[in-house]
């Protein structure tokens, strides 16, 4: 995972609440796999009409926001299924940070694990940023993970919260799995203790014959 420190980039507005993972990548595109073009599939039915033509009235489709690396959206972004392909689709579309008043818990974790920064800002601040981006398509925002701020082109910095655990991993591009593998002795010790105390929670025994 590449480290993430500061990103200054075009920000695209997607002023919708509850943008679920089925909208971020509809199930029919999962069959082809990532090589099949997850970037094109990203938000497909939001960006394109039933005729396959781009929706002209969608701010995300404005020519000035093409190449956007920051997405600004509504509450509960990424709710729904646990499909990590939602993060892959956004990534392949070019998105490196998403700003919203809140995220689906699983999506939030999936984003962090792929080096994408989910930024939680209060709803009024997100609404204000969205209005600015709609009024001036192609405007840039800066996400500064060191300072934990989102700044606009006027230099107004808005602080956001992120756990130190997540921040450190993003800043240093650390691999969570490597860190956990270094803790295997502690994991073994807890498992042994659990096996003694709750033996029925250990590995699956040979099953008794199914009644079916």
């Amino acid at each position: 995972m590449d480290p993430f420190r500061t990103l200054t980039a075009i920000a695209a507005p997607l002023p919708m609440p509850n943008v679920d993972t089925d909208q971020i990548i509809p199930a029919r595109f999962l069959r082809a796999g990532r090589d099949g073009g997850f970037g094109r599939a990203c938000l497909h039915d939001v960006r394109f009409g039933p005729d396959g033509e781009p929706r002209a009235d969608l701010p995300l489709n404005h020519p000035a926001v093409q190449g956007a690396q920051i997405l600004v959206s509504g509450p509960n972004f990424g709710c729904g299924s646990s499909r990590e392909e939602a993060v892959y689709a956004l990534w392949d579309f070019g998105i490196r940070a998403v700003i919203a008043p809140g995220f689906g818990d699983i999506f939030y974790g999936n984003a962090l694990k792929n080096g994408m920064v989910p930024v939680v800002l209060p709803e009024p601040e997100v609404a204000e940023l969205t209005a600015r981006l709609q009024a001036a398509p192609g405007s840039r925002l800066t996400v500064d993970l060191d300072a934990r701020t989102v700044s606009d082109e006027d230099g107004v910095a808005r602080p956001f919260a992120i756990t130190e655990f997540a921040r450190r991993r993003l800043l240093e591009g650390l691999d969570e799995l490597d860190h956990t593998l270094s803790l295997l002795p502690e994991i073994d010790a807890l498992e042994q203790q659990m096996r003694r105390q709750w033996p029925w929670n250990a590995g699956l025994p040979s099953p008794t014959p199914s009644s079916d």
């Binding site: 509850n18 995220f103 818990d105 709803e123 756990t163 130190e164 807890l190 079916d212």
Partner: protein
Amino acid sequence: MSAPLTMFEPLTMFEPLTMFEKIWRRHTVTEDDDGQALLAIDRHLVHEGSARGFEILARRGLKVRRPDRTVGMADHIVPTAPGRTALTGFQRAALELFQRNLDGAGVRAFGLGDDRQGIVHVVGPEQGITLPGMTVVCGDSHASTHGALGAYGLGIGASEVAHVLATQTLWQRRPRTMRITVTGDLGPGVTAKDLILAVIGRIGADGATGHVIEYAGPAIRALSMEGRLTVCNMSIEAGARAGLIAPDETTLRYVRGRPFAPAGADWDRAAQDWLGLATDPGARFDQEIRMDATAVAPMVTWGTSPQDVVGVDGRVPDPGQADETRREAMRQALDYLGLVPGTPIEGIPVDRVFIGSCTNGRLEDLRAAAEVVRGRSVAPGVTAVVVPGSTPVRHAAQREGLDEVFRAAGFEWREAGCSMCVGLNGDIAAPGERVASTSNRNFVGRQGPGARTHLMSPAMAAAAAVTGCLTDVRRLIEGRTG
């Protein structure tokens, strides 16, 4: 040596704990000041969508650390047409890869030829693979279902699937806690599905984000295990990380004798331990919500989020009357659903009915639907399917003759799988078709591009099938019970 205690001090030392906290503490390998913890995982349930997790593992040269705690189940992409003879190239390749991954790792699999095959969240509890007090993870968000047994069930992404395969642990930030206490009794024709839809309607699709919900109160205690599984299943639709119900005698009756459940002396010890998981009196929750079950009607969704829900005796809401922040989203939802504000919910015509899913594909669900269908016929122009949640459910239903009830009425009786809940297996609706569905998500395009989904209980879906429109099931069951 510590100083002697006064007679009052032992009382102050006792810290009342929530059920969640008890499970969390048991499984914590390490936890930092930020509440970030490494949790030991008791059960890892994998389905065909786990290929990416195995791929990450192979790329790193790592092995599955605890194959005996991992179980594979084919459900998401399997065809459900009787006989399952027509596998697409995609299905065949995905199922073969899945089996290769499991065989290579020495992981037990319930594949298409297995009598125990079915939807992961139906099979886990049904086989006793999931037990109270466990941590259970699955690369599927509806892992919250397992909370009905008093297990901490977590949906995870592909990177986390790989992490659990490699280490049998998972990094988690300690969630906040919410207790939803439901008093009163559910009325005739009102089910666990209606109750959880009412909860989501009340708190919103993100009302429990960052929280674990514990469901409590007389109305929850009165639910069967199947009903509890339905409630916990849809916790994720309220944004929750997980849903939990404390183990009680209902839980013990359900678990006892299951193929993978403890037996003999182990059973006695386990049962005692499980009952001790209940939240201690005086334990504090970050949020407390109270609801009255008597106020819940049969519920139907009208929009594109499970929070867009109303009683069947209600009307399609008017965005103009809504909070300003929700107006545009409501307008878009109604436009997608092809609904006009003020329209009575009863009488909205349906094209297709789906009874099944990890929310409502259990035997009790099929019985409830069959009770409505018995002696009636699917309305002209309606396609109706029943997809049991597992092969054992299917066989049990057939032993009771439920399949005959459905077939006689004009329903398709299918094999077990996720089917129309997720558009990955060929079971989808056509654009513009209106679906009465017992599944858990009414998102845009969830059941096929342009498909219009209304979520409801199995009894309500059955009522829609035989009348051809959204119908208050209470009128169809009057005089049929007692």
